[in-house]
Symmetry: C2
């Protein structure tokens, strides 16, 4: 295939993202490119902002998609809110808290780590201890929905605590946005970032962010320039801000934005709460199947994200062999474990367009077949039967 | 159109980019999303690298597309090569040298500006004076093809000078790559970045970069961490580097990469040198038409980029009115002037897929019509006739 057109295989994406992209979104992505200052495009940008406000449940004016993937959305929050010398409390219970720490260090600030076991939610008690011990802390950051484990922390409680100690909050909602309850204004989150390739089911490459007025004020009144020119919101808002006049900052990823816009239109058509309920229903069916198959969840009941199901790999079964067979024989992608969980768990996503009945049944059928082939002693048909009873 | 599907108008893009995207590339962008660690995708990544090496005329192993627009490609070069306290000589002859300066300052380093008038090429004599006066300079940076004016500097001579004084070089080739001669290895460029939405005619959102071994060594042996986690090449290369094992760093913009891959396949099918020749031929025809119409170029003959034609707006003609009419009445986008040239020039792009005969004739016809309507005293038909004689 050297230097020839690339025709991707038609996969079913049930890993930790990207998730299956709907034909409507793919069609939108392929529409003719127009200019980033074209009045028609600027009109779409305004509409995009209102749709993102809907998805985040916020009225924040400073709500838009960063022109790069979720990691750049994280960096946008940290680079704009953190100044050298600041102290930032980071609650880590998986991979992505570690990335936050890297962002803080590279910004010349001091991270204070509050660690919870991977697979557990963030413990508010530990956060409060850290807040008491660090009265000079400026920011509390945590991951709402840990993509590496499937744990869902109580964002509202953590934000309330942070505010009691006069800290701003930065929340990672990469995997939660669109898939499970997230209420930016009601929970009083100051700064939040997400991704497009999870529960919004748009291709990767953009990171929706939102900042409340308090966070926006902190950015405007910085003592030092933002380290990144590309991510400096004081400049980016000349392009994404409101008002008729949009100034060129960088060239926006036009076609990717078409895709995100269409994905958000689809989300609004379904209704945000209906989308949350669909993710939960599909999760319950998948869970019934997994349990019938004897697979156990990494995260305890009540703390689980419906859209990211991390389950323990049975003894004697080789992780890579199973995922390879699922991909090659059934065109089905599920995710591997990250960090300490590598080789020990599978991460099965039910995200956005991929959170549907076909996928639940297909995934259970394929996994049952492959595990049986490898002698895992799975009783035939029980997983699908258990799931079907819930669908 | 509130919260409804966005159907963009079908424009003809003859501004400074994005340029017209071919139907083949749009089709590629709309293909089914697959995972960023899928073996099929990893195979495409390897092929992409070889195609980018072809386009850059380099054997550099460290050649890949950054997962964000050209401004992030610029920042990738500066953030990885510059350390706090370094001195960087920047040759500025338009908007983008100013952006380089911002990158250097935000990296805690000291910029030394070598300024040339906008519309002029970078003067090697001035650079040599600056190199003599700053023996502690570590890097020389300049724009090969100034998108704000259409001036094409002599990259080979500037790089040779920089090397004589033991400086590394960072070259902005956002507008040159694929459209006019650029030879990374032969000219011994150390670090270079480009964009996809100019002469490659792929949607915006990616920035091809290339680093030679010397630059790669400097990055590996940094004393301080790269300020940006997202752009840190020491980490990014775990994903884009060679070898069978690709480690997750961030989620790549899958569908955008499909588009860039297809655009590069098209470039290779045509042949790089043939693409350069086509841009030059279309430029000569457009130029004949503009001159017949009485429009004069900002840049003197011999220093002009074929793909970016900046021409002076006739006295008494309102910039915005003309561009508005072209866009609304003829679906034709041409570019406005930037910075000091705002309101004084138009920037007409002939980039990639857009550098074709139809566009040359259509642009001249539309501009002639609009200028006549506004009483500019254009003799009818002479522009198209002059262009046709060259086509």
């Amino acid at each position: 295939m050297a230097n020839q057109s690339f025709i991707p295989p038609q996969r079913i994406l049930m890993g930790p993202g990207p998730s299956d992209v709907s034909p409507r979104v793919l069609e939108a992505v392929g529409r003719p490119t127009i200019g980033h200052l074209d009045p028609a495009f600027v009109g779409m940008m305004d509409d995009m902002k209102s749709l993102l406000q809907y998805a985040f449940k916020t009225d924040n004016a400073l709500t838009f998609p960063v022109s790069a993937p979720g990691s750049a959305g994280m960096e946008t929050c940290f680079a704009n809110l953190v100044e050298p010398g600041d102290k930032v409390i980071i609650c880590q219970n998986g991979v992505f808290g570690g990335r936050m720490k890297e962002n803080v260090i590279r910004g010349g600030a001091t991270p204070v780590m509050v660690e919870d076991e991977w697979g557990k939610v963030v413990d508010p008690g530990k956060l409060e201890d850290a807040l008491k011990a660090n009265p000079d802390a400026k920011i509390v950051a945590f991951v709402h929905a840990e993509t590496s484990t499937g744990a869902q922390s109580d964002a509202q409680t953590l934000v309330k605590l942070a505010h009691q100690y006069d800290c701003l909050t930065i929340v990672d909602a990469v995997t939660s946005l669109g898939g499970s309850p997230l209420k930016v204004d009601e929970w009083e989150i100051d700064a939040i970032y997400s991704g497009t390739q999870k529960c919004l089911s748009s291709p990767p490459g953009l990171s929706p962010v939102s900042f409340n007025e308090h966070a926006a004020e902190v950015i405007k009144s910085r003592k030092t320039p933002v380290q990144s020119w590309f991510l400096d919101l004081n400049l980016v808002m000349g392009y994404w801000g409101s008002g008729a006049k949009r100034a060129y900052h960088h060239t926006a990823p036009i076609n990717n934005l078409y895709g995100l816009h269409e994905a958000l239109v689809i989300l609004k058509e379904e209704g945000l709460e209906n989308s949350w309920a669909r993710h939960e229903a599909m999760h319950q069916a998948l869970r019934a199947g997994f349990e019938a198959m004897g697979l156990s969840f990494v995260v305890k009941e009540g703390d689980r994200l419906p859209q990211l199901n991390a389950v323990t790999i049975p003894d004697g079964i080789d992780d890579a062999e199973v995922r390879g067979k699922l991909l090659n024989d059934y065109n089905l992608e599920i995710g591997a474990g990250l960090g300490a969980l590598a080789g020990k768990v599978w991460r099965v996503g039910l995200m956005g367009h991929a959170a549907n009945r076909h996928n639940v049944v297909y995934c259970l059928s394929a996994l049952e077949t492959v595990l049986s082939q490898l002698g895992a002693g799975i009783e035939k048909g029980v997983a699908v039967e258990a799931a079907m009873a819930k669908l």
